[in-house]
């Protein structure tokens, strides 16, 4: 009698029900949030045309299509070739969006015409975007994934690998390194207030505030206040950082909708630590005001976009609550130190890679003892 009914029941181990959140859904939510940020950047930057006639908004839009499209195609192809590699279309699409959003574009007023400081523009930019996408997808996402686990943020690592040796111009570093010539102040000293355009001792010729206005303001227009530039609209730097407000709104919306599945603790602890350290440095160096340094450290595109959408990448960050806070604070400390003392104004990217590598160590830290221990 035990054989009379055909045995077609599915037997899975307990539990037999699951929550509604899946990896795909997490990636879809993330995609929508970053896409919203990209759209805001595209619209803002459509007001800018490069010396060679490329519309910057169009550059962003095309760059987005290239990065997302290439990432999805590569993901599909690798899935065909390597049987043990999952096809994660949404994850690839999110990666593509991050590549374009952490790419540096724009024509700062202050350097137009100076041969040393011309950033990459279309169509050369498309070549770099494609190269970063390919290397990031293949090396840092897929090969690392098959080998075990992603060690570093793929977009950050690929950008670093591609751009650092080939051209300094795509990172703000080039103008900054030649401080003397361009009279850009260093952060490792007192920074003056925005109205103060007179040379201030040995620390650069212009105040840091007017540097920010010249660097991030809309070319050809009267620069707005440092506050409005840093918070609302920058026209140079990371694509994803064009509007800090857009990043903050999209990021918070993502954290609220995907509650507990996104590592918002990293973002919060990072931003809090950045704020505290900026204020401390402002006091220590005797800045003319407390806000300029703070605004730069918090809202530079590399800082704000990275805080919400790159530093929270699940695969390359700690899984524990305490670990995430340590990660966020560590990232902030490194970022500030790099930007202040190494003069590398995109320091969060390098800091992120260093912190990513420390994750296995951070994951070992346990403060919450198991129940009854």
């Amino acid at each position: 009698m035990s054989n009379e009914t055909s045995n077609e029941l599915v037997v899975n181990p307990a539990p037999h029900i699951h929550g509604s959140m899946t990896k795909n859904r997490m990636m879809q939510y993330t995609f929508i949030a970053i896409l919203a940020v990209t759209l805001v950047s595209t619209i803002l930057w459509s007001q800018v045309t490069t010396p060679s006639g490329w519309n910057l908004g169009l550059t962003v839009a095309l760059g987005t299509l290239i990065a997302v499209g290439l990432a999805v195609v590569i993901d599909f192809l690798i899935g065909k070739v390597a049987s043990d590699s999952e096809v994660n279309t949404w994850s690839a699409a999110v990666f593509g969006l991050i590549v374009i959003n952490c790419f540096t574009l724009g024509f700062p007023e202050m350097v137009v015409g100076l041969e040393t400081g011309v950033p990459v523009e279309a169509p050369l930019a498309f070549f770099y975007i494609a190269l970063i996408t390919i290397i990031g997808m293949v090396v840092f996402k897929k090969v690392a994934g098959i080998a075990g686990r992603k060690l570093v943020n793929p977009a950050a690592a690929a950008k670093m690998l591609v751009l650092l040796p080939t051209t300094f111009t795509t990172l703000i570093t080039s103008w900054h390194l030649s401080t003397g010539m361009l009279m850009v102040p260093s952060l490792a000293g007192p920074i003056g207030n925005p109205a103060d355009l007179l040379p201030t001792g040995s620390n650069g010729g212009a105040s840091f505030g007017s540097y920010l206005q010249g660097c991030y303001g809309l070319p050809g227009a009267t620069p707005g206040s440092v506050e409005s530039i840093m918070l609302l609209s920058k026209y140079h730097g990371w694509v994803g950082g064009a509007s800090s407000l857009a990043v903050i709104i999209a990021g918070i919306a993502l954290f609220v909708i995907g509650r507990k599945y996104f590592k918002w603790k990293i973002t919060v602890s990072y931003l809090a630590a950045i704020a505290v350290m900026s204020l401390m440095f402002s006091v220590a160096f005797g800045d003319a005001d407390l806000t300029t340094r703070l605004l730069f450290e918090l809202f530079a595109g590399s800082s704000i976009f990275l805080a919400f959408f790159m530093a929270t990448d699940p695969a390359t960050t700690p899984y524990g609550c305490i670990g995430q806070i340590i990660f966020g604070v560590g990232l902030a400390v490194l970022t500030i130190l790099i930007q202040t003392f190494m003069g590398f104004f995109g320091g969060a990217l390098l800091a992120l890679l260093i912190m990513n590598l420390l994750v296995p160590v951070i994951d070992k830290i346990r403060i919450n003892k198991p129940f009854g221990r």
């Binding site: 009914t5 037997v11 899975n12 307990a14 507990k260 919450n368």
Partner: protein
């Protein structure tokens, strides 16, 4: 700091459905072993005639509980059948119903007035002889659990009426319909434990049961009915002690060492039936729920094939993907619908085809850490999972895998659908 994952109850329909007596099976398949502890052997032979309540399997060891015939009839065969308690075939006694419903001699029982003067060892003997085991799912012999060493003073008896598993409403209906019997049962347990304080713990969502319990227990001394907000995870004995009494039982310690006994309501109901009415445990209330035409609470004879229950309730097996017994979070997916109902079958939940398939796909971990923040006992399920998949059981032990309460919350929340709970359970064993 408690930050438990909320899991939807899905009890709306079933909780309003009164307990229905399910007809006796034509052939009862009584699994010889349904308890944890020593192994029973049949005390009857093929061809023997048995009557309702007659003992048909037992063991000599202390940690054991006998089995009784749920029907009257003839033993037609003794052979292995799939046992959902252990997820493997074990010995079963097949009894063909003669339809006469001949009752055997009831067990020794006492009147309520005799309770105070009855010796504990005699009460424990009744409970053992009735074959009572933990009906909440653990299956540990109740007579052993309630025989607390004399030097351990029990301060609190927690009557567990949380019934945290989604879909399950059998305990809730017992609390609604058999409240007076529960009061009798609690008196027995209390007497055995040296008259501790009693807290009847249930969830505020059980709106029909709460006033019934409050009324029935209002005249009992030193007794409180606590209807509170409890999540699924807090139905676990250790979690409940933390929620109600505030302490965490140290790892490796038993709850009686903390002065507390947690006893499930269905078990207390069975204790009352045995002690005062001489009824052995030959039936239990189980919930039929999920993708079924009409959710029900049924009083079913132990040994009734699940497929009989399904067909009598118009559940078409061919439309089902899986049938889960004993709770959708901690229970077992049946390998065959021929499986008989056991003492531990608190519910039978059906899942229709094409409903669960997509979400069951296991993918790679993305390291989101949700399982870590969701674990009610603060383990790191993904770290244990990784250790287990590498075969590194020493590391799993270092990560306290043995402290897992197997609640399944980690797997429930995992966006990659990794079988975390299953692997941790493997490590535990």
């Amino acid at each position: 700091m408690a930050n438990f994952v909320h899991i939807p109850e899905v009890k709306e329909l079933a909780r309003k459905t009164p307990i229905e007596i399910f007809p006796d099976p034509k052939i009862a398949v009584v699994l010889t072993n349904q308890q944890s502890g020593a192994t029973n052997t049949p005390t009857i032979k093929i061809g023997d005639t048995v009557v309702i309540g007659e003992k048909i399997a037992d063991a000599k060891e202390r940690v054991s509980a006998p089995m009784h015939s749920p029907i009257s009839g003839t033993v037609i065969k003794i052979e292995n059948a799939y046992n959902s308690c252990f997820e493997t075939p074990t010995e079963a006694i097949y009894i063909e119903n003669d339809g006469k419903k001949t009752k055997g001699k009831p067990l020794t029982s006492i009147t309520e007035a005799e309770l105070a003067s009855t010796k504990n060892e005699d009460l424990l003997k009744i409970i053992r002889e009735a074959g009572i085991i933990g009906l909440g799912g653990a299956g540990f012999p109740t007579s052993v659990k309630l025989a607390v060493p004399a030097d351990k003073k029990i301060q609190t008896l927690l009557v567990n009426g949380a019934e945290g598993e989604p879909y399950d409403t059998a305990d809730e209906r017992i609390m609604i319909e058999r409240t007076a019997n529960l009061v009798r049962g609690v008196r027995v347990v209390r007497k055995l434990l040296g008259n501790p304080a009693v807290i009847v713990v249930t969830k505020e969502s059980k709106t029909e049961a709460v006033p019934k319990l409050q009324e029935a227990f209002s005249k009992e001394p030193n007794t409180e009915v606590r209807a509170t907000h409890l999540t699924y995870q807090q139905g676990d004995a250790a979690m409940m002690q933390k929620a109600i009494l505030g302490y965490e039982t140290p790892s490796g310690k038993r709850s009686y060492e903390m002065g507390t006994i947690v006893q499930n309501v269905a078990t207390i109901n069975a204790i009352a039936n045995a002690v005062f009415d001489g009824e052995p445990l030959i039936s239990r209330v189980t919930t039929l729920n999920g993708d079924v035409p009409k959710p029900k609470n049924l009083q079913v004879k132990i040994g009734t094939p699940i497929k009989d229950i399904l067909s009598a309730n118009n559940v078409n097996l061919s439309t089902l993907d899986s049938v889960v017994v004993g709770g959708v979070l901690m229970g077992t997916a049946l390998q065959t619908p021929n499986a008989p109902l056991t003492k531990r079958t608190s519910s039978i939940i059906c899942f229709a085809k094409n409903k669960t398939k997509n979400v069951q796909q296991t993918t790679a971990c993305i390291h989101c850490g949700r399982c870590v923040s969701a674990c009610p006992v603060r383990l790191q399920p993904i770290a244990i999972y990784n250790a287990v998949t590498k075969g590194d059981f020493a590391k799993a032990e270092k990560l306290c895998a043995q402290d897992c309460i197997v609640c399944g919350t980690c797997s429930y929340v995992c966006p990659a659908r990794l079988p975390l709970a299953y692997n941790v359970k493997m490590a535990k064993q």
